[in-house]
């Protein structure tokens, strides 16, 4: 049984008494927080600057940014993006209410399916709980309505981000998530995605689509 052995060795190494309550209290206080560290100044800007920075980083990291004026335009924007990429006009999404409520009939010819990703899927659609302007990062939370595999298996990944959810820092994204899920609650899988899948392992040249999506399209909904 390794557990007591490892813990005892750690306490011996640290020269501490495992039952020392002062230490336990100090650690409990540190965990209870709030913990604040330096957050880069680039996270603290006005909303429009944050949105521009978010788009700028995403573009630099190899994502395609598509801006739409209202949610109703999303199905049409997806259809024309897939057409431009010359890939099958089909997409699979979760049962996320936001995505389910979109007017899919306005995009005739686009095959829309629901559920977790399957090996034959060519495009997956997700809704981000937040966009982080700090580094151009999408935050995706798995749940029964948002299967994580949609972001991983298909060659094309489409993500809807409401401009209202674009925040400065990772910490703010976490606070948004807690507002949605409850304090201290984490989804099973929380994905911070900052561009399509890539590798530099062959000849040192950057190639997209190593295992995950080859292309990442970010649909930013900016309601005026």
């Amino acid at each position: 049984m390794s557990r007591p052995k490892v813990l005892a060795r750690i306490c011996t190494a640290l020269r501490v008494d495992p039952l020392d309550t002062a230490r336990q209290r100090a650690v409990a206080a540190r965990l209870a927080g709030p913990v604040r560290h330096v957050v880069p100044a680039r996270c603290r800007q006005e909303k429009p600057q944050l949105a521009r920075q978010f788009e700028g980083f995403l573009g630099a990291q190899g994502a395609d940014v598509i801006k739409v004026g209202e949610p109703g335009e999303i199905p049409g924007a997806i259809l024309s993006y897939l057409r431009d990429c010359a890939v099958p006009l089909a997409v699979r999404k979760g049962s996320d209410p936001y995505l389910a409520a979109l007017p899919w009939t306005t995009a005739p010819g686009l095959a829309v399916q629901s559920g977790a990703a399957r090996p034959s899927d060519t495009a997956g659609l997700s809704r981000a709980v937040a966009g982080v302007a700090e580094t151009g990062t999408l935050v995706l939370a798995s749940d029964p309505h948002n299967p994580a595999t949609l972001a991983l298996m298909p060659e094309t990944h489409l993500v809807v981000v409401d401009s209202e959810t674009i925040v400065g820092s990772y910490e703010e994204a976490q606070r948004r998530l807690e507002a949605e899920l409850g304090p201290g609650v984490l989804p099973r899988m929380l994905n911070f995605i900052s561009g399509p899948s890539r590798t530099g392992d062959i000849g040192g040249r950057l190639v997209m689509g190593a295992h995950g999506p080859r292309r990442l399209a970010v649909l930013i909904v900016a309601t005026e």
Binding site: A13, P40, L190, I193
Partner: protein, 474 residues
Amino acid sequence: MRQHLSAFEAGAGAALADPRLQRALTDVSGGFAAARERAVAALPEFAALRDIARDIKDHTLANLDLYLEEFERNATAAGTSVHWASTARDACDIVLEICRAADARLITKSKSMVSEEIGLNARLKAAALEVVETDLGEYLIQIRGEQPSHIIAPAIHLGTDDIADDFRRRHRDLPGERALSQPEDLVAEARGVLRPKMLKADVGITGANFLVAATGSAIVVTNEGNADLTMSLPKVHIVLTSIEKVVPTLVDAFALLRLLARSATGQELTAYTTLITGARRPEDGDGPQACHVVLLDNGRSELLGSDLREVLRCIRCGACMNDCPVYGAVGGHAYRSVYPGPLGAVLTPALTGTAEAAELAEASTFCGRCEQVCPVEIPLVSLMRRWREASFAHDAAWRQRALLRIWAFVAQHPRAYHLAARIGVGVLAWLARGRGIVRALPFANRWTRHRDLPAPQGQTFQRQWARRPGDEPS
């Protein structure tokens, strides 16, 4: 005692004579270092974050028992099974047992340095399990039967045509005439070959870059997304990691994540940074049915009580390698250890528990560049010096000790120093025979074999100083 150093020397000799490796080291390792510079310059808070990262790690290490227990409590509450492994053998046993219980035959893995450290693949293969590495670089070296040559770019020593040849040999069911000249062709082929393995695998093994005590989560970063698929598709996910990876809260992890990718590849953040908390939840449409975390000690708790404790701050970014002049010249294979470069020189002898590897600390110029780029401010030079002191105190180092004692005596006695210097300078001048350079030096021909020694012009500095024109009596 000298065996490991001569192994290093042999490896270094081969590396220096390998033009492809030399080019790769300049391009890739040098490219990472330049990209790191740019990323650091773009984040004015980088220096402040290094101090914070150091403090977070030091605080966690000083309370490691309590944070591990907290992690265990929260991970267990999230449905994860937490296992403790005292030794490499224990960790292999635990992983093997989980695979057996799951009736596993095929196992996929994303990159894990801990798994290299414990020799997991060999152990699983011996148990007749098929193990497939999914990180592209790791897959390449797996099919070639090699070791990683860099902790974040394991196959930098390979060229595109080497890989094309390997793929033609290995992937026999694909058409022989296919085009494989471009990296894009090779990446697409690897994707096509590995995806079915990922879908068919019974168990997926990943490492962890951080463990979050407050939430019981593991954080894994990749650029390929292979770790995400490896942990999502099989029915069992095993996180194989070590005890020093724990941090108190998510906010602490964010501070460290701001340093990790920038220090490693110069990216703002890796393409995929994933927090995983437990297994598939009721009503989830995907995800593994079971999630295990294996916490490996393997010598780390001893390090915690030693004067090398600071090395446990390491977040495995590889910056100390990318910026090291010795690593840059010989690459990772020469170190003959899982962890190469300055970090490896400090960590390897501690983990292997042998004095042999202590001589890796000799493979340094002590220029201190590694300390300057380390995102958690590990005093790598001081720590390497401790290993040098330890190997110097060893019985076998009597020659070194005798020479240094003679040097100490001479340095403290000016007359002896003058005499010795005059003899030395005279002998060197005689050896140069007026050519200004010494081509071969008795007792030091290993040095002069590769370079010439500029010869002194016949007089010691002290004598010239005493005779400088201004001092001559007029």
